[in-house]
Structure formats: structure tokens, C-alpha cells
């Protein structure tokens, strides 16, 4: 259950870069700052009615976990869910099916990217992703005047009819790489911080290169508390969760 996959398997050579995330559900107090920061950073659009979770767009979505007991044994926890940037061999569920290569996994970073101008909106990737990480733009995105002023120029806005999802803030990676280049450092495997990670006040989200044995993520991903969601699907998420609660861990996969 604890993820053993980022030890250079799946043909990703050792020393290569696999950005990944570890989310400590013990620490997460569900303040949702990660989601707000993410959506703020990434120009995620919003609707007057955001309560239809099957239609709205969220890159970082919260799931509500319950232990299934009754008062007073009842307990709950929140689970923030970015895109898992699955590391399954060769393809992720989603990139495997995109007919136009509009989403691909970059094997130099492990990031599952999404290129909106190429997406034809067939939603096959959405269907393929068991984590609901992908959202479709059912409407033309709209920001009430003058909110367009707050749009981030480092992320392009999407148009109606395309899919979008968490990108591990790869525009920040690009910026970090450029900075590294200008400073004469090696741009590969450079450290950077996605918005959600930055925002989290309890430090519940840790991000970094899973293939760097020195990194905090790599260490945590091998923690006994670590698990992945629906690991049995062999999607090999690069987002790991930590929890010391047996009931939370049990909810991580079917048939546990």
C-alpha cells in the first residue's frame, strides 16, 4: 500500500526527475487555502452556482472522508485532491486515451500536462481518470467585471469545450528553470513550489522530486503512513497521502 514505485522503476532512470506530492491528512485541517490559492494562481473560472460538483471546475478538490461510525465515535477528515500525475508505466489513464495528444506526460519531469489549445473536448481523458481530476469547461469562462484584472498572465485561460486540470503549477517550474538558467544552475530537477503547497498553513502538503533520495517528498512517500488512492488500479499516483488513522487508510482503496 505504501508506494514503493518511485525507486527508479517504470523505466524512469535513476537521477531523473519525478515531481510529486505528499499530503498529510493528519495535518490537513481543511481550511481550503490550497484550493483557493490554486484556483487563484491558475485562473480557474467560477460559476454563479458552484455547488454542482459534477459541473464545476476545481483543480484542487476536497473530498470528505467519514469513518462510518455513529456519534460519538464518528470522525471525519478532508482529503485535498489535485491531479495525481499518475506514473503508471508508459501512460497515465488519461494520456493514454487522448486522441490528439493534448495531454501527455512529460517524462523529464513526470508532469501530466494539458494543452488547452489542442484539446478537442472529447472528454475521453475525463472518462479515463478515476480521480475526477479533470474538469470540462461546460460554459464559456467568465469573470465579472473587473475581476479579469486579477488574472495571472503566466497561465492562459481556457475556453469553452476544453478539459483542464491541475498542472503541478508547471508554469512555476518554467519560471524556476529560467531563474536557474540565468543563475547558471542546472535547470533540471530544480526545486519549485506549487501554489497549493505554498498556501497550506499547516505544511500538510510537501512537494518535490520523488526521485531525489534526499528530498522530503521522497522520504515521506516511503513513510509507513504513506499510501496512494486506489493503488490497485496501478495508476501509480505521484501524489501520496499520509495518515495515521486506520480508517482513513482503509478508505484509500477498494477491497482493503
Amino acid at each position: 500500500m505504501s508506494g514503493k514505485q518511485h525507486n527508479g522503476e517504470h523505466g524512469h532512470g535513476k537521477g531523473s526527475v519525478r515531481y510529486g506530492m505528499v499530503i498529510d491528512l493528519d495535518k490537513c485541517t481543511g481550511c481550503m487555502a490550497c484550493a483557493v490559492a490554486c484556483h487563484q494562481e491558475n485562473n480557474v473560472s467560477f460559476l454563479p452556482d458552484e455547488t454542482d460538483k459534477t459541473r464545476n471546475i476545481a483543480w484542487m478538490r476536497m473530498y470528505y472522508l467519514e469513518n462510518g461510525r455513529d456519534y460519538p465515535e464518528y470522525r471525519f477528515a478532508y482529503l485535498p485532491r489535485p491531479c495525481f500525475h499518475c506514473d503508471s508505466p508508459h501512460h497515465t489513464p488519461c494520456t493514454f486515451v487522448c486522441p490528439v495528444n493534448a495531454t501527455q506526460r512529460d517524462e523529464r519531469t513526470g508532469i501530466v500536462n494539458m494543452i488547452y489549445p489542442r484539446c478537442i473536448g472529447c472528454r475521453y481523458c475525463m472518462v479515463a481518470c478515476p480521480y475526477h481530476a479533470r474538469c470540462f469547461n461546460w460554459w464559456d469562462p467568465r469573470w465579472p467585471e473587473p475581476m479579469e484584472e486579477m488574472l495571472n498572465p503566466e497561465v492562459s485561460t481556457r475556453m469553452r469545450g476544453v478539459i483542464e486540470k491541475c498542472t503541478f503549477c508547471h508554469h512555476r517550474l518554467n519560471r524556476a528553470r529560467d531563474k536557474a538558467r540565468i543563475e547558471g544552475r542546472d535547470p533540471d530537477g530544480v526545486e519549485y513550489t506549487p501554489a497549493c503547497v505554498e498556501a497550506c498553513p499547516t505544511g500538510a502538503i510537501v512537494f518535490g522530486n520523488l526521485m531525489d533520495p534526499e528530498s522530503e517528498v521522497a522520504r515521506l512517500s516511503k513513510d509507513p503512513r504513506a499510501f496512494q488512492i486506489s493503488a490497485k488500479l496501478k495508476t501509480y499516483p505521484k501524489v501520496y497521502y499520509l495518515s495515521s488513522q486506520p480508517w482513513v487508510r482503509k478508505l484509500s482503496d477498494k477491497g482493503l
Partner: protein, 181 residues
């Protein structure tokens, strides 16, 4: 006679075919490209030649965070043109309409790229500028900017295939997120 008619008819058909064919070719190759692009001029002329005494880096420089100034903003211009430095019309416009009013000059970018493109000069700093940009070292007068009416692309906008080719040649990554945001 019928035969002649036949022949005549054949020729008529052939001629009208050619008329249609050549007409369409003319429309397609000559008219269409002109219609497709609108022509624009810069808000004021910037003579690169007149600025040859500065390094290019004076206006087009890297910031410490790895970003690039690209087309500089008027603070750059103001450093010399706080007051008029000549009495050309362009100079007057520059000083009076922009610098003194602290208004950014709406330069038209020749290498304009759509929103979804991330291009950073940092990884490309070892390439010659003219690999992608026109050579401005001798330029007195800014050329007009041709803008595609449908797409907003400039005629000089570099298309993706160029980027990809060059990346492939150099072994640079062609992963989507390298050039798209």
C-alpha cells in the same frame, strides 16, 4: 459538324475551366492573403539605428528572476527622453503623449504569441537573436505589422512547428508544458 460543335464545346469547357481555375488561384494566392491580414503601424517609429550607441541589453535585458524585459516599458525610455531629445514628430509623441502622461506605449509586437504560449528567453539566450527576430541593427523605420484578422497572429508570429523542430534538433524537451501555459 457535330464533331466541330463537340470540339467547340470542349474548348469552351476547357476555357471556362481554366478561367475558374486561374481565377481561384489568383483569389487564393493573391487576394486571400491580403484580405486575411490587416496592416498596422507602430504608435510611433522607433529607429534602432538611432539607438546603436546603447547595447541591446540596455533595453532588452534579463531580470534576475530569469524573465526578460522584451519590449521595454517607458521607464526605460524615460531614462533618456525625460525631455525631448530632438524635434522629430515621433519624439514629440513619445515625450508628450506617453512619457509625460506616464502612459505605456502600445507597441505592436512582431513576435506576438497567443496567451497559451510560454516563451522564455532564458533558455534561448545562447541563440542568435536573428534566429527568430528580424535583424534590426540597420533598421531606421519600423516595418508595418500584419495581423491575421481571424487569429490575431502576426504574419511574423512563429508557428509551433518551428519551435518543435529546433527543440527536436537540439534534444530540448518538446513536452507540452515547456512551451504552453
Amino acid at each position: 459538324m457535330a464533331n466541330n460543335q463537340q470540339k467547340g464545346a470542349g474548348i469552351v469547357v476547357l476555357v471556362s475551366f481554366l478561367v475558374g481555375f486561374i481565377g481561384a488561384l489568383i483569389v487564393g494566392w493573391v487576394v486571400f492573403p491580403n484580405v486575411l491580414y490587416s496592416r498596422h503601424y507602430q504608435p510611433l517609429n522607433f529607429s534602432h539605428v538611432a539607438h546603436q550607441d546603447n547595447d541591446c541589453e540596455y533595453c532588452h535585458y534579463f531580470r534576475d528572476d530569469g524573465t526578460y524585459s522584451g519590449v521595454p516599458n517607458i521607464d526605460n525610455c524615460r531614462e533618456c527622453h525625460e525631455e525631448m531629445m530632438g524635434d522629430s514628430e515621433a519624439e514629440r509623441i513619445l515625450v508628450e503623449e506617453y512619457i509625460q502622461q506616464n502612459k505605456p506605449i502600445p507597441w505592436l509586437v512582431y513576435a506576438w504569441q497567443p496567451d497559451n504560449v510560454y516563451f522564455s528567453h532564458a533558455p534561448h539566450r545562447d541563440l542568435d537573436c536573428v534566429r527568430c527576430h528580424r535583424d534590426v541593427s540597420q533598421e531606421e523605420q519600423n516595418p508595418p505589422v500584419y495581423i491575421n484578422r481571424l487569429t490575431g497572429y502576426r504574419k511574423t508570429t512563429m508557428k509551433m512547428v518551428e519551435c518543435e523542430k529546433c527543440h527536436a534538433e537540439r534534444g530540448a524537451s518538446n513536452a507540452c508544458q515547456v512551451c504552453h501555459k
